[in-house]
Amino acid sequence: MRILLDKFSKSFGTTKVIEDLTLEVADGEMLALLGPSGCGKSTTLFAICGIHKVTGGRILFGDRDVTDLPSQARSVGVVFQSYALYPHMTVAENIAFPLQVKKVAPDQIKREVDAIAALVHIENLLGRRPAELSGGQQQRVALARALVRKPDVLLLDEPLANLDAKLRLEMRSEIRRIQLETGITAILVTHDQVEAMSMCDRIAIMNAGEIVQLATPTEMYHNPRTAFVAGFLGNPPIAFLRGTAKDGGFALDNSDIRLPLPAGTLSPADGSKLTLGIRPEDFGPLGDIAIPGKIAFVETQGRENLYDVRLADGSMLRSIQPVRGDIAVGNEVAWSASGAKVMVFGEDGARL
């Protein structure tokens, strides 16, 4: 079911957390709310599920205005970061709880619990208590409990944050599989760009209570609207060079390095502050804008090596390349950036 946040605002007392946020999630879509800690992601999520009353604006599920409906009347499934399983109930009782509250007949409850348990692969755990489950299993139970009522919307608040790296990888695809199989509209809150990029159809990236950009992962990665977005997506992250505009080119601060601005950039006024963003994969032996520097650090990642290159002004560029043995810390290198991929940001962080 489509979700629409229309000029939604939320404040706690005098602290304004969200102001006039508008966001539409299409039916059956999985959308990521991505942003740094404290930017208001959970607040938005809890407003959608009705745990927080909104201070302004409207929330629509489909065409139904649910702004003033209590959580119980909204039909949302929520998965919490801590899973919030009921510790005194078995897995089966946990999953059955939402149905019991709805006064569904016991034999039907049993059937639905079994069906959902099969979907999330926990058939053999139904008799256990949450304390007897691993993190990944608890996560599956929480998903099952959220989905058993066949809610209109599935909300996930940092569902993978408490898992170790390997389980996180596994649950990433599991959650996506389950979302696709059920076709449910889902919102995933996360501060991890890898999760957002790998699991979702679109990403809404938030900063300080505002949505900075809303786009598909690929679009957002290659075409970030601001330096904040560019810096948030990508691992290893993008490197920034600070400088000023000079004669239609870029003068790196505290050095005599001059770089041409990539074609297609509107020429900024001379003397205005600029930031260049260069992703690690766009800087290496093959580019067309030469930037000389010195290797400061080599990080072995197995298949690839990550090189930190220190420029004359002390700033750092990163380059990721297939493993090669001919480069060591301290070597002078003359690598180049691919001009078409270099991003230019103005003083306010907006892309030029």
């Binding site: 745990i51 959580s71 929520v78 801590s82 919030a84 009921y86 005194h88 409990r145």
Partner: protein, 280 residues
């Protein structure tokens, strides 16, 4: 077993046990005689019993002299302790929840007030309570003492329960609400079970404290109708005319047996109150 050997490897345990035994010997002897004296007779001035008898226990089947039979008194005590326990549990479990979770106006003030009430020695209140009970016509009635005792037990209970509710994660309640349960269902089915150990402990505390309460019933309900065991027991030694120490001891044993039984069965839960936490 492994820990046992480790411990005894570090130091010998028998000297400690011996020292403890010697120190607690007077206590043990006292309790022993407390019990032995109720089923034996001994010559005046002698500590050695010379005959076994059950005549000190005859208060169980016949009323002695002008004293009431023990059974109505025991029933009174049971009703008193049970009702107080129920009231304390009902009020503490709900009030503690409200203070822990809901944004009631004057919450801080209320919490401080409850704390002060708890710190207040109840004896200092007794004259005022006496007057109030007389005014509302509850003097010399079981209901009157029950209300007073419950009121005095409550502050501790409310604070205790608030502390336990504080340890229940908010997310559990949020999950319940999102699962479609009403606030009350969430409280009853999701939150209350988490604080069950606390409720058990508090209930036991309230029961034991009421069972052994003496001052309140003595002052507020001394009449024969509302008499409880502690008051009955006290009247035995107050009675100078037919003073019977063995009877006093027998009634004493009768009085503490339920306490001992409760303690045996529930000591784990009692310990819980100090351990805190909702793991249970």
């Amino acid at each position: 077993m492994a820990t046992q050997t480790q411990v005894s490897a570090n130091f010998k345990s028998w000297p400690v046990i011996l020292a403890l035994a010697i120190v607690s010997l007077p206590l043990i002897v006292m309790y022993l005689y407390f019990f032995i004296d109720t089923i034996t007779d001994s010559a005046p001035g002698s500590l050695i019993p010379n005959a076994i008898t059950f005549r000190h226990w005859d208060f169980l089947w016949q009323a002695r002299g002008n004293r009431p039979s023990i059974w109505p008194v025991a029933l009174n005590t049971l009703v008193f302790a049970t009702t107080v326990t129920i009231i304390v549990l009902l009020v503490s479990s709900t009030a503690g929840y409200v203070l822990s979770r809901l944004n009631v106006p004057g919450r801080g003030f209320f919490l401080a007030g409850v704390m002060v009430l708890h710190a207040f020695p109840s004896v200092t209140l007794i004259v005022a309570i006496f007057l109030v009970l007389q005014m509302v016509g509850l003097y010399n009635s079981l209901i009157g003492v029950i209300l007073v005792k419950a009121a005095l037990e409550m502050p501790l209970g409310i604070w205790l329960m608030k502390g336990f509710y504080d340890t229940v994660p908010w997310e559990i309640e949020m999950a319940g609400i999102a699962d479609g349960a009403s606030r009350f269902t969430v409280f009853r089915r999701l939150v209350l079970p988490q604080v069950r150990p606390a409720l058990m402990a508090l209930g036991l505390f309230a029961f034991l404290s009421s069972w052994s309460e003496y001052i309140l019933p003595q002052v507020l309900a001394p009449g024969a109708k509302a008499q409880v065991l502690s008051v009955y027991l006290a009247s035995l030694i107050a009675d100078d005319n037919n003073f019977d120490l063995s009877l006093f001891k027998a009634v004493g044993v009768f009085y503490i047996i339920p306490v001992l039984i409760l303690f045996l069965f529930f000591q784990k839960h009692l310990m819980n109150i100090y351990g805190g936490g909702s793991k249970g």
